[in-house]
Subunit: 156 residues, 2 copies
């Protein structure tokens, strides 16, 4: 593996209280990225970045991700046109997760046509088990995936 | 591995549009959990749940997690007392990530003493590299970790 393009990890004190960005990539070379709408604070999607996706995101100000299922770098919106403009990237205390605050260029961050990927909820204080039913939450579609993606793979 | 206590995975159509909760746990038996404040929508922390942590969270209405570093189930706040009451758990389109919307019982979800773990930002549209500097964002401490955790491990 090539040397990281980001700073090496320091002590716990340096990682938690320091000013140096030293992101931790996991054994697969990935770091989790929570994408939120910077204006509404809605959580839009959850994905992963590898070093290249993170570097591209920082340098271009648009969201780049890494698809584990396709083993490929991808720019969010490269098929749908629904790109996301980054206003800010935050890192958590131990610098192993990212919060990407974005401005939506087009409505709908989810490939199913919804504004957010988190459009269903489960009931709390019930016995956990095979019978848990999902309830819609802001689940109305804001675009038609068939029109946006055509017959192709719904990849973003 | 024992049979899952949650429903088995169905077709893509069933997973994305269906009413059955069929969460996907990764090769390590974990599912990512984004924890947000249900009132402010602030992203508080990012962690993982295993099946037992998810079942406990659903049944008790309090946040249970799984620590990868300690290989242990833990209840958020078991040391600090800063437990989190769950108002809602949402699941994403492919049911491999959770959004846990909570009410904070005490101020400060981060073990460093901050309200949120995401208290630093990096600059966008700069060359990615070893020199990226972090800027504080809502980084004032709302509790004193030394008082809350004493000399013990700052585990939650």
């Amino acid at each position: 593996m090539a040397a990281s393009r980001f700073a090496p990890r320091g002590s716990i004190e340096q990682i938690e209280e320091g000013r140096v960005f030293a992101p931790k990539f996991d054994a697969e070379g990935l770091i989790p990225a929570i994408v939120t709408d910077a204006w509404t604070a809605e959580v839009l999607m959850f994905a992963y970045m590898n070093e290249e996706a993170l570097a591209n995101s920082i340098e271009t100000g648009e969201v780049w991700l890494y698809s584990r299922s396709r083993n490929a770098l991808w720019k969010k919106g490269e098929t749908s046109g629904h790109t996301l403009r980054i206003l800010e990237i935050r890192v958590d205390c131990d610098q192993d997760a990212l919060l990407v605050r974005v401005e939506q260029q087009h409505k709908g961050a989810c490939h199913t046509g919804r504004s957010s990927c988190f459009y269903r909820a489960i009931a709390i204080r019930e016995p956990a088990g095979h019978t848990l039913v999902l309830t819609p939450r802001n689940a109305e579609k804001v675009f038609n995936p068939a029109e946006v993606y055509g017959g192709g793979e719904k990849r973003d």
